[in-house]
Symmetry: C2
């Protein structure tokens, strides 16, 4: 590397470090409120549907070039402040010995799932480079592209509980009753399963940071099926260990969950620099429960993007007014963007959040 | 009626009035904590499955003798303190001009649903005696059977929001995005729809009380898909009007919803003598938000009935300890009982709640 190259690298790294998104993660003041959207690379975009018409979900995830291309689509189309690597929370389970397929119109289905403590015993703990190599490679490709543009890339993984839910239930569910029955019936096997998942997820997240992710988000999407007391018993010890381990990655960590508004204090205790919240609770009240020593991410109702602009604007204003001028707010949805969302709305939303906070 | 008959009627009515369940609704001290379970007449019971093997869901609902029989099954099998009439929240929608079917393995599906404001215009407001006659007749049959045994019967209906969700979405959903899009896009048609539903539901509930129901529960099962602020805008005015209208029935009213723990204060403002809560928040904290001038119903996690007795006992103890000896607690689940629940567990649960609070 020549001195010129070296300086350029330092410059682009510093540009990244000074990006709105990463500053907000560190609760530093920003010129405008940063915005990105969960599942921003997805079916609401024609460019994405064009690729998915030719390739299955798993093919896109396992092909670094395609995954990188899909990751960049929303960054090229909208005024967003961070990219998130295109993948899914479930593929690491395949590396552990489970079978995964994405069934059209149904969602993810595990062909072989966990039914007994013996099945937990059999689970292996693969290295991320062996089982998630294509995603790590996609991260390297996207980083090369985005670092010069000063746009940070977020890596992510499912939280142990949410992965355990899928591993036992075999697919999506409203109550995850099979998973919870297992949890209540086999507390030791549950603990073993959660420990294994912590190890796999921690390594995977750390490797994503090493490959170029500037921040990491943990998705505990189904944590809300547990009561507050059971969250403390069955999730908190494992998430706490996970966030401790991943601190070694030295990048901001985002702790996201849904349906946990009643016990955001317990969620926060697990760790994370940024707490991601769903749309149920006013963000000001949520931030009070979380504590202002953390940044906060959220929390627009994803269905508000399906209605008219006036209604959406009202809901965005509600959030921005509630936050005020405190630093450390990352604007986002309260859960993933919905497939019928019009792209014009996404474009206008990103612009509006920047305009209103400029 | 002879004097002897008259006295007997007065005696059985007074016995009913002095039942644990109705006393708890009025926050009077009881000898033991009353317990009943949402969907206690249902697929987890062999007696129920035997009837459903020969009759569809709608056939059972529309046949007063069968509906009465199914209503009594859990009362005869377990030590429960109240019956709830066997029906579903959706049949009143058929009277309004929508088409309903219960599809095996899928759940309720509306063949014709609401897609535009014009569809709302077309909805009629039927009288309960015309569209829900069989359920009212079933209530009369069950009352005859249960009054001498001192067991009160609960009538129920879906809340306007939950019915509107189904009417527009056409079936069950995680986010009810079609329904919410309609709500955001056509606020006037939404208001008209909710007003029509209030009228239909209020009349139906009042007629259930006149037919013999000793208490009435309003199920707002999907209220939790709205943010706290949108609950106040899109649900509260209508539920408030509903509870005002139904006060004329002069029986205790139970206001049940799920996913609303963050704004139980706003839920309570709508009305109801008893607030029914899901399992997410500790019941003591929930009761504080509700206020001790209301009774409270709940809030065991239904999945806890799928695990071992020791775990279930721990969760029941947690609830009873949290409540302490304050009068006005009705033990229940936080949502409907699940089909794989073992009947031995239900039996033991009812006995245990009575034993521990005796």
């Amino acid at each position: 590397m020549t001195n010129v190259d070296m300086n350029e690298t330092l410059n682009t790294e510093s540009k990244l470090h000074q990006s709105r998104f990463l500053k907000a993660c560190r609760r530093e003041p920003t010129d405008r409120t940063p915005i990105w959207l969960m599942r921003q690379a997805g079916r609401y975009m024609a460019e994405y549907r064009a690729i998915r018409a030719k390739h299955s979900m798993l093919e896109v995830i396992q092909n670094p070039q395609l995954a990188a291309e899909v990751t960049l689509q929303p960054i090229n189309a909208f005024d967003l402040d961070a990219a998130i690597i295109f993948s899914d929370i479930l593929p690491p389970l395949m590396g552990m010995g489970l079978e995964l397929d994405f069934v059209k119109g149904v969602g993810p289905q595990l062909g072989r799932c966990i039914e007994s403590p013996a099945d937990v015993e059999k689970l292996t703990i693969p290295k991320a480079e062996d089982c998630m190599g294509p995603t790590l490679e996609a991260i390297r490709l996207v980083r090369q592209e985005l670092e010069p543009r000063g746009v940070p890339l977020i890596g992510f993984a499912g939280a142990p509980f949410t992965l355990a839910c899928y591993s036992i239930q075999g697919g999506g569910s409203k109550m995850y009753e099979k998973a919870k029955r297992f949890m209540f019936t086999y507390p030791e096997a549950w603990s073993q399963l959660m420990h294994k998942l912590v190890d796999v997820v921690a390594d995977y997240l750390i490797q994503q940071a090493k490959s170029g992710a500037s921040a990491l988000q943990v998705f505990d999407s189904w944590a809300g099926v547990l009561s507050a007391a059971d969250y403390v018993r069955f999730i908190q010890p494992y998430n706490t260990r996970l966030f401790q381990l991943v601190q070694s990655a030295s990048v901001p960590l985002i702790n996201f969950s849904t349906g946990t508004s009643t016990h955001l204090d317990e969620v926060t205790k697990c760790g994370g620099d940024v707490i991601g919240v769903d749309w149920r609770m006013p963000i000001g009240k949520a931030w009070e429960m979380v504590g202002h020593n953390h940044a906060i991410q959220g929390n627009l109702d994803p269905t508000a993007l399906l209605g008219p602009w006036e209604e959406l604007q009202l809901q965005v204003d509600r959030i921005l007014d509630d936050v005020g001028d405190r630093p450390g707010h990352i604007f986002n949805l309260g859960h993933g963007i919905l497939p019928p969302t019009p792209i014009e709305t996404v474009k206008r939303l990103a612009e509006y959040v920047h305009e209103r906070t400029g």
